[in-house]
């Protein structure tokens, strides 16, 4: 689960093209990186919801910005926010990016973390899918049906919201805790009646004719993705956090000026074609800014989760969201 992805060597490949003398395939470059004063251990998730971080990673922006402040980084990939939470709780990562709900869950259970930037939001980035020929025609039809989603992910929140709009709760469906990667097979084999899943799977399954969208977040859930850092780490290494934000800002610049190139660059990270990737990018707004709208949305998610019993203790939004690093970068 916590396999160290090839990320490091890829990072070396991309990040050190400017460094003279460093042969790109040479893993020794990692040893020279060890000279850096501080390491940022990033817990990543290979989903297009986090496209800016992957662009920053592939373009070498993370390398450049972090080495400018004397830091380097490690990159581990996880399949969902709750798994990132686990790695952070175990003290194996300093920073992670994920959707609103898992970050709220982490804070609610007492993990010493704070949100330091936004990553993206997109109402169409998360959806309930059913088979094209399914007799489920509306959210109300989900009652008593088997629905697969990753427990503790923001998919759980969307499902709870959609159900509550129909006067139903999560207890009215048979919930199956499945990672996003396992869900398409479960739907195809008829093991489950519906999925609540995010991009790239929505675009993939729909374009393959394997599924249709029953409902997405449109008008229901803004779907914020955020970056959080371990509070103690951020306080000790403010420059590292700011460097991370700068790298994301540069990636967002690329995404807005040349989305085609960005899609080309990261499509492989998410196992999609560049064409599909470009379409997926169109479903999101990418920005590091934490606007009042973002904070209001996160607060709403928190309140709902508390009411629905997804979290059991309240989260103080002021100590959860720390805009000070963002403010310093953006001036």
């Amino acid at each position: 689960m916590k396999k160290l992805i090839l990320g490091l060597s890829v990072a070396a490949l991309i990040g050190f093209t400017g460094c003279s003398g460093a042969t790109v395939q040479d893993t020794e470059t990692q040893a020279s990186q060890a000279d850096a004063e501080v390491t940022l251990r990033i817990a990543a998730q290979p989903f297009p919801l986090y496209t800016p971080v992957y662009v920053a990673y592939e373009e070498g922006f993370l390398d450049e910005e972090l080495s400018a402040v004397g830091a380097d980084y490690t990159w581990q990939e996880f399949k969902s926010g709750p798994l990132v939470n686990e790695a952070v709780a175990a003290g194996e990562a300093d920073l992670g990016f994920m959707a609103d709900l898992p970050a709220i869950i982490a804070k609610s259970t007492g993990q010493p973390i704070e949100v330091i930037s936004n990553v993206a939001y997109g109402e169409k980035g998360l959806a309930v899918l059913v088979k094209p020929d399914s007799d489920i025609q509306s959210v109300a039809d989900l009652k008593g049906k088997k629905v697969a989603y990753a427990t503790g992910s923001y998919a759980q929140h969307l499902l709870a919201l959609l159900l509550s709009n129909e006067g139903l709760t999560l207890d009215d469906v048979e919930s199956i805790n499945l990672g996003a990667g396992d869900q398409p097979a479960a739907l195809a084999s008829g093991e489950v009646d519906a999925l609540v899943i995010w991009e790239q799977y929505i675009s993939q399954l729909v374009s393959d004719g394997q599924a249709r969208v029953l409902a997405d977040g449109t008008g229901v859930k803004r779907g914020n993705m955020v970056t959080y850092a371990v509070t103690d780490y951020a306080e000790k290494n403010p420059d590292v956090i700011k460097a991370y934000i700068k790298a994301l800002d540069r990636a967002n610049e690329v995404l807005s000026t040349d989305p085609e190139a960005a899609a080309q660059l990261v499509a492989e990270d998410f196992s999609v074609t560049p064409e599909l990737m470009k379409q997926i990018i169109g479903n999101f707004t990418f920005s590091t800014d934490l606007t009042d709208d973002d904070i209001a949305e996160i607060t709403k998610v928190k309140d709902f989760s508390l009411d629905a019993g997804i979290i059991s203790s309240d989260v103080d939004i002021d100590s959860f969201i720390n805009k000070s690093y963002l403010d310093e970068v953006h001036g």
């Binding site: 007492g110 503790g152 199956i176 805790n177 093991e191 979290i311």
Partner: protein, 254 residues
């Protein structure tokens, strides 16, 4: 008399001493601030979660579901493991016929069957019972055959001399003779059944103690995880105690 009571009391003090020491050390570590609630919650947090889950009904529902699965899978394994075990013990040709398949399947951990079990039997009851069956079958089967093998050969010789029919041989010699070891197999099998139910429910399930455990993991709630673990431990122990008591009644001569 007085001495007896004293001895009994001393026994129980000793019996409960270790868990009490663990609880005190755990509580102390929490008070001393050594524990982080998100990696190791205080004992009281487990108690609170226990009460919460008792009140919302989740606890009893999940225990009930797991218990039914364990009993179903275990009884199936008992019937099949016992029958095949006796079969291979008294029919050498049947032993030869089945040996390669059984001995090849035996080292495969039941957990490795989970992906196939889900494909074959679905996410519901069937796949769980299948995994539990696999986990409980082998200890019962192997101990049954070993038990028969360890019966004094003179009994079989005598049975042959007196031309005792096979049916009588099984009920009067094979089963009583192998019973102690069969009971060992049953206890091991039941223990394995609990291991397997949790494993099977942690992957692709909608209910059960294992599901509760994996839910606790996803929601960053180690208190739920620990509660689930304790439940498996306590129920496993109670069922083992029941079997031990049954063992004592069945095998009086030991």
């Amino acid at each position: 008399m007085k001495n007896n009571i004293k001895q009994g009391l001393g026994h129980y003090v000793l019996y409960f001493l270790l868990p009490i020491i663990i609880l005190i050390a755990w509580e102390w570590a929490d008070i001393a601030g050594l524990l982080k609630s998100y990696t190791m919650p205080a004992p009281i947090a487990i108690v609170n979660t226990f009460i919460e889950y008792l009140q919302n009904g989740k606890l009893l529902t999940n225990i009930g579901v797991s218990l039914v699965r364990v009993v179903e899978g275990f009884l199936l394994a008992l019937a099949v493991g016992f029958a095949i075990g006796i079969g291979v013990s008294i029919f050498p040709k049947f032993d030869t016929f089945t040996d390669l398949v059984i001995q090849t399947l035996r080292p495969i951990p039941p957990i490795a069957w989970i992906p196939l079990a889900i494909l074959w039997f679905g996410i519901g009851q069937g796949s769980k019972v299948f995994i539990i069956f696999l986990g409980a079958f082998f200890p019962i089967f192997i101990n049954t055959t070993e038990g028969v093998k360890n019966i004094d050969g003179r009994f079989f010789e005598l049975a042959e001399v007196y031309e005792i029919p096979k049916q009588k041989l099984i009920t009067k010699i094979v089963i009583p003779g192998a019973l102690p070891q069969i009971m060992t197999g049953i206890r091991l099998g039941l223990g394995n059944a609990w291991v397997c139910v949790v494993a099977a429910e942690m992957i692709g399930a909608t209910s059960g103690v294992g599901f509760m455990l994996s839910d606790g993991r996803s929601l960053s709630r180690p208190d739920i995880v620990i509660l689930g673990m304790l439940i498996v431990g306590i129920f496993g122990k109670i069922m083992d105690d029941l079997l031990k008591a049954l063992n004592k009644r069945l095998i009086k001569w030991q």
